[in-house]
């Protein structure tokens, strides 16, 4: 297992694929800090004071994307790229028979591959956040408080889990589908469905199940919103976006949308307009974290199960 992990890591770090992705990561971080820090500076000049200025680096969208949005949308591609040919390339090139005739457990192969991918993702994600922090400190001149550092750490962990889900999915496709091209396409198709169609679909479903007939009917509006939110939460992209919002924005008290709150809640929200501390934010996102972790484990478990049962005939 350790030698497989070592070899897979070496493969990843030597590959052109990794180089390209990493260049992309650096470019994106530069671009984001550049546009965002300009916004922040002009906001500071106009006298706005926000104790959580540093976190704005990650959540404000300039002309482009904010980092959180970027990772939610394009992060899945990183996970897919790291894993879409993990197993079927070895099968097609005959190296799977080489591996299987060595005295290694079969699960060591898949564990090693998944872990290596996860480590690469962790390296990328961490350096992305560190790069933006570094540039941000240089350009804006604010230094993060321990509380903000904790939030960033939490955010990195969440992102690694999220990308790990996509990696697991990609590996699953690479086990199920024999052709490398097909498994790449299957991964991308899934990505498009969950990131674009689910949000349309959620409104459609909500319209069908709980149509809003009178504009003033709060009950109806609430029901509609609740159903739409429930449907869109089937998408990991949506889960991740909501969770990262809460982590990175201390003013976000709840992941419920405004529509779903009663009037009383709204009043209380306005009255106690103070930031949540880290443990409380963590409390709010715990279910999201657990769900993403569960999805990741589910993907990995399915891959594991199928791979252990597959007979490799190419021997």
């Amino acid at each position: 297992m350790r030698s497989i992990l070592r070899k897979e890591l070496a493969d990843h770090f030597n590959s052109t694929r990794f180089l390209i992705l990493y260049c992309l990561v650096v470019c994106v971080s530069l671009l984001i800090t550049n546009t965002v820090s300009l916004n922040i500076r002009s906001a500071m000049a106009s006298g706005a004071k926000d104790p959580h200025l540093f976190l704005l680096l990650f959540t404000t969208s300039g002309h482009f994307f904010s980092l959180a949005q970027f990772v939610a949308f394009f992060g899945p591609l990183i996970g897919l790229i790291m894993g879409f040919d993990a197993i079927n390339r070895e099968k097609n090139e005959g190296t799977m028979s080489l591996l299987l005739s060595q005295p290694v457990h079969r699960d060591a192969i898949i564990n090693g591959k998944f872990l290596a991918g996860l480590i690469v993702i962790a390296v990328m994600m961490t350096s992305l956040v560190l790069l933006i922090s570094g540039f941000g400190m240089l350009v804006v001149g604010v230094i993060p408080t321990p509380d903000q550092v904790a939030r960033l750490l939490l955010y990195v962990v969440l992102s690694i889990l999220y990308l790990g889900f996509w990696l697991g999915l990609a590996i699953l496709f690479s086990i199920l589908l024999r052709s490398i091209g097909t498994s790449a396409l299957a991964g991308i198709a899934f990505w498009i469905v969950v990131s674009f169609f689910v949000s349309f679909g959620s409104t459609l479903v909500a319209n069908a199940v709980a149509p809003v007939e009178h504009r003033g009917d709060v009950e109806q509006i609430q029901r509609h919103a609740r159903i739409a939110a429930a449907v869109s939460r089937t998408s990991p992209v949506h889960l991740y976006t909501e969770a990262s919002d809460v982590i990175m924005d201390p003013y976000k008290k709840t992941t419920k949308s405004f529509l779903m709150m009663g009037p009383l809640e709204k009043i209380s929200l306005a009255r106690f307009d103070s930031p949540l501390d880290v443990p409380q934010s963590l409390l709010v996102v715990a279910p999201y974290l657990v769900t993403i972790l569960a999805l990741t484990s589910l993907c990995f478990a399915a891959s594991y199960w199928i791979f252990m049962r597959q007979e490799i005939r190419s021997i």
């Binding site: 030597n14 005959g94 190296t95 080489l98 060595q102 290694v104 007979e311 021997i315």
Partner: protein, 251 residues
């Protein structure tokens, strides 16, 4: 003198759905013996090898490889038995030497021990000059040599070779057959050799088994096989090719 048995199967059967790939196979290979495993395509040879290595589970029957049950203890079996599959591939972006180093690590050898075994193996299969080229640039014959080098660094007690001479040049074939023979004679390595190159099998095998449609239709030394059944017409000793074809003309 009763030789030590390394492989013993009894009534070994493998079914895929309604198709029986291997049907009641009883096979015996002794220590230091070179056993030729013959049969037409689809006779069940590959399935038998998969079962011997514990890569697929037999439907019925008993297997014993060097005292281990491959289904229950695949790791112990694979530590002692090295297999060169027919369509084995190597990592194209790594050099021959790096491929071998990976195998050495997978076998739990430390780098120092591994490197010295790799040098020795490369020398024995005649791949020293090409060792630092990428495996993707290798010809079929060079890949075959790399495969044999891979087996050598594992120092197995038993080797399973599937068409080891395919794609080799004539000198290469002679060298490989010599290598196999010396391993068997000097280091008492048993060899299960699957091949359609009957003259190579005849040249080095002590005993042969012939499979057809999942059954072992004959097993024994060349003399035994030649002696059983029809006498050769002109009284000459029959070659393996004639013996082999005899089993399929009847069918």
């Amino acid at each position: 003198m009763q030789a030590e048995t390394v492989i013993e199967t009894e009534g070994l059967t493998k079914r895929y759905g309604s198709k029986t790939a291997v049907d009641g196979l009883s096979l015996r290979v002794s220590r230091g013996e070179i056993f030729g495993f013959l049969g037409p395509n689809g006779a069940g040879k590959t399935t038998t090898i998969l079962m011997l290595l514990g890569l697929t589970e037999p439907t019925a029957g008993r297997i014993d490889v060097l005292g281990f049950n491959p289904t229950r203890q695949p790791l112990q079996v694979k530590r002692l038995v090295a297999c060169l599959p027919e369509n084995v591939g190597y990592y194209r972006d790594l050099t021959g030497r790096q491929n071998l180093r990976y195998v050495a690590r997978l076998n739990g050898l430390d780098d120092r021990e591994g490197d010295s075994r790799i040098e020795e193996a490369l020398r024995r299969v005649g791949l020293v000059e090409a060792a630092d080229k990428r495996a993707g640039t290798y010809s079929r014959g060079m890949r075959q040599r790399l495969g044999l080098a891979e087996l050598l660094i594992r120092r197995p007690r038993m080797m399973i070779l599937d068409e080891p001479t395919l794609g080799l040049d004539p000198q290469g074939i002679v060298a490989i057959l010599d290598l196999i023979r010396s391993l068997s004679a000097e280091e008492k390595v048993s060899v299960l050799l699957c091949s359609h190159q009957l003259q190579h099998v005849q040249a080095i095998c002590d005993r042969v088994g012939i499979m057809n449609q999942g059954r072992l239709v004959a097993q024994g030394t060349l003399q035994e096989l030649a002696g059983s059944g029809v006498e050769a017409a002109d009284g000459k000793r029959m070659g393996l090719e004639e013996i082999y074809l005899r089993y399929f003309q009847e069918a």
